[in-house]
């Protein structure tokens, strides 16, 4: 069971982020870390490979400045190797461009039975890349997996919905996006950290992937960020003095929200 996990390396959300005023995108020139939402896919992949009794987990990532910090975290968790796409031409790449790059990088991994992604990244949040990758690779796509099982040549997925879950299946290979929080990502052990140091990172640029740099980055972007505005501050809540009928107000409030 060979599994590819697409992982994004993002600026540490614990640090105050900053936007580049010219490009109106997040500054990514500092140290990047593994996006927490991808740690679930990594954990899921490691568990599936374990359950299958073998196989490798390979990471695929696109990041500026040959960044590997986040990859090392996932390698320390137990992934075997990774493909890193880094190229100055990729600055400004939009969701579709990212999917093109990742799809081309995934093709470099031989014998991939399953491709896992998060449902969306914590910094970009378009939530469209997984399906675009599947389309570009001509593979079936299942989204919002809360659990994944492999049965012969089929992947069986419980797909999270607002009311519960759907049971879906697809023939392998397939692209499945994993919902955050559905597994408990393991802590990398110290031995894992030491081992990660020497695990292979296959770094490639657009040329190596056979991608025309003009079709990605700012040049190839089909979208433009026109303005960025601060999110409106949260409005003050309503304070109700309890005169003995407070419970009625709570019920009315919840009823209005249609949650009861």
């Amino acid at each position: 069971m060979n599994i590819v996990v697409c992982v994004k390396q993002i600026p540490d959300p614990a640090e105050p982020g900053a936007l580049d005023p010219n490009t109106k995108t997040l500054k990514r020139d500092g140290k990047l870390i593994l996006d927490e939402s991808d740690s679930y896919g990594v954990e899921m992949a490691l568990q599936l490979a374990d359950a299958a009794g073998g196989g490798e987990v390979t990471l695929v990532s696109m990041a500026p400045n040959s960044e590997t910090s986040g990859l090392r975290t996932a390698l320390a968790m137990g992934a075997a190797k990774s493909v890193l796409v880094s190229d100055p031409a990729l600055s400004g790449t939009d969701a579709l461009g990212t999917a093109k790059i990742l799809a081309a990088a995934i093709k470099r991994v031989e014998g991939a039975d399953l491709i896992l992604t998060a449902t969306e990244s914590s910094d970009g949040y378009t939530g469209t890349v997984p399906e675009q990758i599947a389309e570009l690779l001509g593979l079936p796509s299942i989204t919002f997996a809360k659990s994944i099982a492999i049965d012969g040549g089929t992947v069986k997925v419980q797909r999270q919905t607002e009311a519960g879950y759907d049971e879906c299946e697809a023939p392998l290979p397939a692209v499945v996006s994993v919902t955050a929080g559905v597994v408990e990502p393991r802590y990398p052990s110290f031995k894992g950290i030491m081992a990660a140091k020497s695990k292979p990172v296959d770094e490639v640029d657009c040329a190596a992937l056979g991608i025309d740099p003009g079709s990605v980055g700012w040049a190839g972007g089909g979208q433009e960020i026109v303005t960025v505005e601060a999110a409106p501050a949260r409005e003050a809540g309503e304070v109700v003095e309890d005169d003995g009928t407070g419970f009625e107000k709570i019920v009315a409030f919840l009823d209005n929200l249609k949650v009861i």
Binding site: R72, A76, Y187, S189, F190, I193, M194, A196, K197
Partner: protein, 400 residues
């Protein structure tokens, strides 16, 4: 002329820079502490709970094996790396930091340094993995700083091929947990000549008949760390459990004490950093007389002093660890680091408690727990007085 030797100031050894793996380890330990220790530490303290599952989880992280070779299941790293982990743990819970510190320094380290290949194979892999814990019993009810005054006796029953141990040990860390596999003890095994006792080290497996673990002490702090008095009554262990050369037990222990002192100093460093961070926050938040308490120099300067103590302790801890890892002498530096960092930790926790006012005196406040926990740092693994004695001797002073 100043007598300082040039190599004492080797600039290469004075720069402390953590490598990528050490930084990654620090992040993992930090995340682990935030999720697995911080939410429970107050309850463990309140209920005097030794959290065996959390200790096993620290074992899975590899914390108990950091400085030992991979051949025994260790991490193949060094004292500096161990200090990185201990410093981070101590910011959250000294008891958990000490469980690792004692497990590594007192449990596994003697086996690694003085054990035969067979003894290493027998005990180290489980100790390194944190599946089991070890302790070291040197202190006795009537012999602490003066550990050469050991009264516990072990007599070799040659016919049976067994040591027969009688005596008592006091204050032994990690000696009575459900994970404890061994306690290595020092015992008098004969006379060394000139009326001096011959002291050897012997490994006593947990559960050996005649090895009794007393009820845990009621302690001022370190409530989640396991400490017991031990009694040995005709306790028999195989002759092959002698650790290192006969008659070398005490000398051996002294030889590995220096590493333990640096490790304790790393714990103290984490404690100071915890006080600094907590007080930085609180001095900005807490209002009195219509302004944050940190607007008063009397409060702000306490916090500034904590930053000074943290910087000094950091330099001393990693400086000493760096010397050790480079294979250089570090006895004096280890004693200086232990002395300074632990005394600074006691000062920092006392002052942090003052900054927190009444809340600082309430058990569930983090700095309050750190205050109660910190005092023993000046006592265990060589009191402050003993550190000053070591430093004085290293300076060539004629102290006795």
């Amino acid at each position: 002329m100043l007598g300082a030797t040039p190599e004492a100031y080797d600039p290469d050894l004075m720069i402390v820079e953590l490598n990528d793996e050490q930084l990654a380890l620090r992040t993992v330990v930090h995340d682990f502490c935030e999720a697995e220790i911080a939410p429970h530490a107050e309850a463990w303290d309140r209920d005097h709970t030794f959290p065996a599952d959390t200790v096993r989880a620290m074992g899975e992280l590899g914390l108990f094996g950091i400085p030992f070779p991979e051949a025994y299941g260790g991490g193949g790293a060094d004292l500096t790396t161990l200090c990185v982990a201990l410093e981070e743990l101590a910011k959250y819970d000294q008891s958990m930091a000490m469980t690792v510190e004692a497990g590594v320094g007192l449990g596994a380290n003697p086996i690694f340094h003085f054990g035969t290949e067979e003894q290493r194979q027998q005990w180290l892999p489980d100790l390194c993995a944190g599946r089991t814990l070890g302790g070291f019993g040197l202190t006795e009810p009537d012999a602490g700083s003066d550990a050469g005054g050991t009264r516990t006796r072990a007599v070799l029953d040659e016919a049976a091929g067994e040591w027969v141990i009688n005596g008592e040990k006091a204050f032994i860390t990690n000696s009575g947990t459900e994970l404890t596999s061994i306690v290595t003890i020092t015992a008098v095994t004969g006379e060394a000549g000139g009326g001096r006792p011959e002291i050897s080290a012997i490994v006593v497996p947990a559960g050996t008949p005649g090895f009794d673990v007393a009820r845990p002490y009621r302690k001022m702090g370190w409530h989640a760390s396991d400490t017991h008095g031990l009694a040995f009554t005709d306790c028999r262990v195989p002759e092959a459990n002698l650790l290192g050369a006969r008659g070398k037990g005490f000398a051996q222990f002294l030889a590995i004490l220096d590493e333990g002192r640096v490790a304790i100093a790393a714990v103290a460093l984490g404690v100071i950093e915890c006080c600094l961070a907590e007080c930085q926050r609180y001095a900005n938040e807490r209002m009195a007389f219509g302004r944050p308490i940190g607007a008063n120099q009397a409060v702000a300067f306490k916090v500034a002093d904590m930053a000074v103590m943290a910087e000094c302790a950091r330099g001393l801890v990693y400086g000493a660890a760096r010397l050790r890892d480079a294979g250089r002498p570090f006895k004096k530096e280890a004693a200086i680091a232990k002395l300074y960092a632990t005394e600074a930790a006691v000062t920092a926790t006392r002052e942090a408690t003052q900054v927190f006012g009444g809340y600082g005196y309430i058990d569930e406040t983090l700095v309050s727990r750190q205050y109660r926990d910190a005092k023993i740092l000046e006592i265990g693994e060589g009191t402050s007085e003993i550190q000053r004695l070591v430093i004085s001797r290293e300076l060539g002073l004629p102290v006795t």
